[in-house]
Amino acid sequence: MKQIVIISGKGGTGKTVVTGSLAGLAKNKVMVDCDVDAADLHLLLHPDVRERHEFRSGQSAVIDKRLCKECGKCAPLCRFAAIRPDFTIEHFSCEGCGLCARICPHGAIRMDENVAGEWFISDTKYGPFVHAKLGIAEENSGKLVAKIRQVAKELAEREGLEYVIIDGPPGIGCPVIASLSGIDCALIVTEPTLSGLHDAARVIGVAGHFNIPVKLIVNKHDLNPAMTVRIEEFARRSRVTLIGKIAFSETVVKAVVEGKTVIDYPHSPASDELRSIWDKLK
């Protein structure tokens, strides 16, 4: 079984469009959406939810107003500025460390278990799909990513699937690191802009840090051919294999608006290029 993740550093370079296309090309796989705080892959795969589970993670402080003497001991010790001047908890700032509950002299603070989101196993016309929804303004996205990756891996093992294909989050922080662990290949999607190059270089650095093999593709390469040349030079210098360049096309925008994958437009140059990318990737 091979686990492939699609990441980019910079957001909006085309991760989900590429992942959706791989759903249309790969056989025998489970699809996973690890961009849990702004998940979009379901808009292309149209899942029928088969299983729905609560994601319980961490705790959150609650102040019992009847017991609180407003002594003010808790607030200055909170490193996350989560205790308001009126001695209520700002839920979205609380990181659940529990220090306030432990030091409150009146036992007025308790820690409640947090339901931080939901995760799903779904059926799609492309096969099984594991995805999640982080609760509004919740944290622990890294743990939710780890959870759904574990579920997907077990599902692939159980059903004898060949690939786990993962749509990753933008950035280089906690959910990206959780998306990279134990991966066989990270496909980096960049675009011919200075920001795209800068951010791809950083995320390639993160993959290197964890010894994950990477491959690179340039999306919308014709929007700035000179910048694409710079990215090709960068790839050569940093020994990253460039396995494809997708031209800007109205077809891609049309596919997204219609909730389809690019592979649903079989005679377009973008779908031909994605086919060749998949051949090099698998």
């Binding site: 957001g11 909006g12 979009d40 705790q59 220090l99 933008p170 690191i177 950083r202």
Partner: protein, 291 residues
């Protein structure tokens, strides 16, 4: 006034809006809080004159005072501490996993023997500088580090409220975004008129409503895609602050790291209008609040 620029979906144009808005105003301080992938410096090319480590406090054990009671392990909500108790033949030991540490300070506060002190661990870097008269601050999370919110909070310590503060926020809707937009007087949500843009805009709107921060929407590449973002905004009574059409020259100037207002100064008026729009809505929100 503190204005943050956020989006839900990545790549919709946060940095473009933040940078061009900042360049169109006077007396501005710019904070790039997308510390995982900071890009504003590519466009603003500020002169950097200060550098400081971004740190989180992690525990350090004084072996002479520690008796391996295990209290620190028990109180650590993030499983960042393991304690091997002492036995007859062997001294105990305490293992710290700094990557899991949130820097909450519970272990050092609650150690019965005062055996834990906190030491700074570098997780990123903060740089300060200037672009003409604009003050500039950005943070950069070190490659391989997981936790960006502490770096974001340290960038925000530089906020100077006598200026118009523009915050470029990271994408998404979870902790880094909350750390970046918290305390803003107004938040600009940048989106694009596609199902992805709409889906992630709805999530971002829910976050801002929960945080009680007034907000409006900028639709970028407004002429691609469909009308559903506008329909949604109308239905939800969300003001559309500005629409920017898709133009190849905007895309190319972005790709080269050149702000639109430098290429086409007529955009300054448009971004000034955006600011006036924001200011009006912020005042409206305030008076609503007082009533």
């Amino acid at each position: 006034m503190i204005i943050s620029v956020a989006s839900g979906k990545g790549g919709t144009g946060k940095t473009t809006i933040a940078v061009n808005l900042a360049l169109s105003l006077q007396n501005v301080q710019f904070l790039d809080c997308d510390v995982e992938e900071p890009n504003a410096h590519i466009f603003l090319k500020p002169k950097i004159y200060g550098q400081k480590k971004a740190v989180i406090p992690v525990p350090e054990i004084d072996q002479a005072k520690c008796n391996y009671c295990g209290k620190c392990r028990e109180v650590c909500a993030y499983h960042a501490i393991a304690v091997v108790p002492a036995s007859v033949e062997k001294k105990g030991s305490v293992l710290i996993f700094p990557h899991l540490c949130h820097g909450c300070g519970a272990c050092s506060q609650l150690c019965p023997f005062g055996a834990i002190r906190e030491v700074d661990k570098e997780i990123g870097i903060i740089e300060t500088g200037e672009k003409d008269s604009m003050w500039f601050v950005h943070g950069r999370l070190n490659v391989g580090e997981a936790m960006s919110p502490p770096v974001i909070r340290q960038v925000k310590q530089y906020i100077n409220s006598s200026k118009t503060v523009i915050i470029d926020a990271p994408p998404g809707t979870s902790c880094p975004v909350i750390a970046a937009v918290k305390g803003s007087d107004f938040c600009v949500l940048v989106t694009e008129p596609t199902p992805f843009g709409l889906n992630d805009l709805i999530l971002a709107v829910e976050v801002l409503r929960k945080m009680a921060i007034p907000f409006g929407v900028v639709i970028n590449r407004a002429d691609i895609g469909d009308a559903k973002v506008e329909d949604y905004c109308e239905k939800e009574n969300i003001p559309i602050l500005m629409k920017i059409p898709f133009k190849k020259e905007i895309a190319v100037s972005y790709s080269e790291g050149i702000p639109i207002v430098e290429k086409d100064p007529s955009y300054r008026d448009k971004f000034n209008n955006l600011y006036l729009n924001i200011n009006g809505l912020k005042n409206e929100a305030n008076s609503h609040h007082k009533r």
